[in-house]
Amino acid sequence: MDRPSGDRPVQSSGNVTSQTRIARLKEVVIGRALLSDSFVLYLSVAYFVVLWVFLPRLGSARNLSNLSSNIWPLLVLVIGQMFVLIVGGIDLSQTSIMAITSVCGALMITSGLDPELFAANPLWGVFVGEQGGPAGGSVAAAPVGIAFMLAIGTLIGSANGLAVARLKMPPFMVTLVSMFFFSGLAICITRSENVRNLPDAFLAIGQNYLGRVPTARGSVGLVPYSFFAALALAVAAWFVLARTILGRWLYAVGMNRRAATVSGVPTDRVIVWAYAVSGFCAALGSVLYSSRLGAGRPTLGENVLLDIIGAAVIGGISLFGGKGKVRWAFYGVLFFVLLDSSLYMLNLKFYTVNIVKGVVILVAALLDVLRNRIRLGWAPTGRAVTA
């Protein structure tokens, strides 16, 4: 039905006209581009190049450096979200995990709190004081704080997973509740104040760069430290998904939980793993964002949820489960960050930016449907050439 009219059913192999050949060729080219694993990457590159012509600033060293420091923390979050999406769930609590770990970690390692702001804090005098947190001022403050944050994130994620797997609660409900609970808790234990005076070693992760590039006005950083964190995570995630038994199980559970159970997959455990990974990634993202911000912030990640889900969907990770790759997550984030920064560069108001973002996510979702339809329909001709 969606095929070009020139392409009639072939009666015998003899009478293929040149018209049908062109139509077939068109199908194959469009089909291959659309079906390609790297479709979103092509799209990003095309978008960048086209916009660069009108907005030379987009390609400036300063902007590129800025882009790259925006990509990596978001990628960390999206990779975590992807694990949950693959098992057919959704994790709305990632942003609240960011907030609570940001606050807890910062309270742990801060080297001084303003009594005027924090004296009313329930933890004042017990856990924290004027001299800072328990690990404040210590040489090992940064690693201790990071480990603490990651542990909390993983723990909350596992709790989400247990509720989904064992209590058979809908993922949307579980993580919605935990989103409200932990973002409330984060505000409660800090009384809405940012926790400052974090050790330099911690701040370096989000703020420093490896190598610098000279520009007309000073210089900009080349590779942010957060890149290495994201890279390590991406490689680990790829390894788990593509090379381990757990990886196969994750996809199987997402595609058909009942069939997976019958086939001996420890379904509950796999689901808990997925949510734990998501919690861990949220905490890692929190480390990167908090350190860039230079503070533990109870409202950290407030507006990031749309970005996470949006980037995942744009990358082609299915909300119905069973589909997702680290590469796709990266392409999705790349496109999303590019879109975001270019829209701001066009001097659009924040609401216009949100409108455009919404439209783009819609288009991405439509494209996903289209791709699936093409895969079902055109695959025999399109794929044969690829293979």
């Binding site: 059913p9 090379r243 086939s263």
Partner: protein, 515 residues
Amino acid sequence: MSEPILQFEHVSKSFFGAMALTDITLAVRPGMVLGLVGENGAGKSTLMNILGGVIASDEGQIRLEGRPYSTGSPAEATRAGIAFIHQELNLFSHLSILDNLFIDGFPRIGRTPLIHRREAVRRAKEALAAVNLSISPRTRVDRLTPGQKQLVEIAKALHGGAQIIIFDEPTTSLTSRETERLFALIERLRREGRTILYISHVLADVLRLADEIAVLRDGKVVRTGPKAEFDINAMIAAMVGRQVDQLHPIRRGKPADKVLMSVAGVTEPGIVKDISFDLHEGEILGLFGLMGSGRTELGRILFGLDPFRSGTIDMCGQPRRRRTARRSIAAGMAFVTEDRREEGLLMEAPVTENMALVALPNCRRNRVPGTLDRLALRRSVDEMIASLKIKCVSPRTAAVKSLSGGNQQKTVIGKWLLGRPMVCILDEPTRGIDVGARYEVYSIINDLADRGNGLLCISSELEELMGICDSLLVMSKGRICGRFRRDEFDKERILAAAFEGHLERGPRGSSGASN
């Protein structure tokens, strides 16, 4: 003779270069039952989907009462008086019968958008009475048995004024009692002058119901004629294009004395009661029972998917506790489930991934814990695909849902065989697959027994079990009501045993346990 009500004239349809139907010409007279048979993929469903307006034909045309009829949409087909009773019923299970009957047009109060409840109830009662279903129209559809749901669907079709009714495999989920009821209804509809197109794999039913039979093979009508010209062998011969002397492979091996699985006194209240039997090495043990007899439930209990109150299940002399599917697999069991789509396969995943699922823990790489030895896995999956002769163009990329039923079933079986089981439980191993593939599945079962595996075959088709099994258990109402060795097989006695529990307690209440 009267003019044909429905004519297909040179209808052709291709999907992406592959011909699904070639030059179909077929005429159906009013008040006739046309039996449509053919292997899976022969084009029956495609032809009916064209008639039902689900898809459009490429060439040729259809005439209704002599007038050309173009199929635009299912709604148009309904308006033209064509109803399609699908294999998977198309009812909204959370709505009442009433809502389902009128979903495409409730009676209204005057011209307002308000529903005329009383009128709707009255008409619904009429419609249900027409199919002999005495149930309140306010009953929710998910409370009904499969047979009752089907009657509701038929009532809906009749209420819509359907003159041509298509049945696609209507008996797969019915008890034999419900099947009888359906056949009586079809008989009545024919007497009323309606035209029936009846598609089924159960050739005996087709032979019984149809006035005329059309056999499809590879998208072509290969033989049509009045029922008198056919018998089952003739139909099969036309379907497969060659003479099939044998439906079942010859059973050569003999069961050994060693007991692989020993079941003693297994009881779960309301489901099964006091089940005891031994499964030996190299034995094919059949488990026959009507729908709702507890045969599938017993399979699930044996495999550890469902719990049981008392009794023991030993594997190779080892009692089994804390049973889960995972532990059962580790203990050497396999379970080919009845429902391929829901419990058997990852429909979106390719063949290779489906096959690997059970064997994953066996393909561990020792150096790094938790990682896969992908080379070994790929090799064993490829070997299995070859040895089961699974036909698939691209087993690594094409979703398994694009395969035919037979190849899907072979994929499920292959998945379990890769786990190297000793005991295989197969629930309806040939459901929804065609004659050729059936023979292959039987051969696989035979080979497994010859290699020393113990097999428990659960089926509702007695001929099948009598053809392949060494001995047979008959279940009725959750109990074993009969045990037969191969030399004692006797259709009447086995059926009598299967109906045993049903005779004691009357017809109702027999279908509660299933679903």
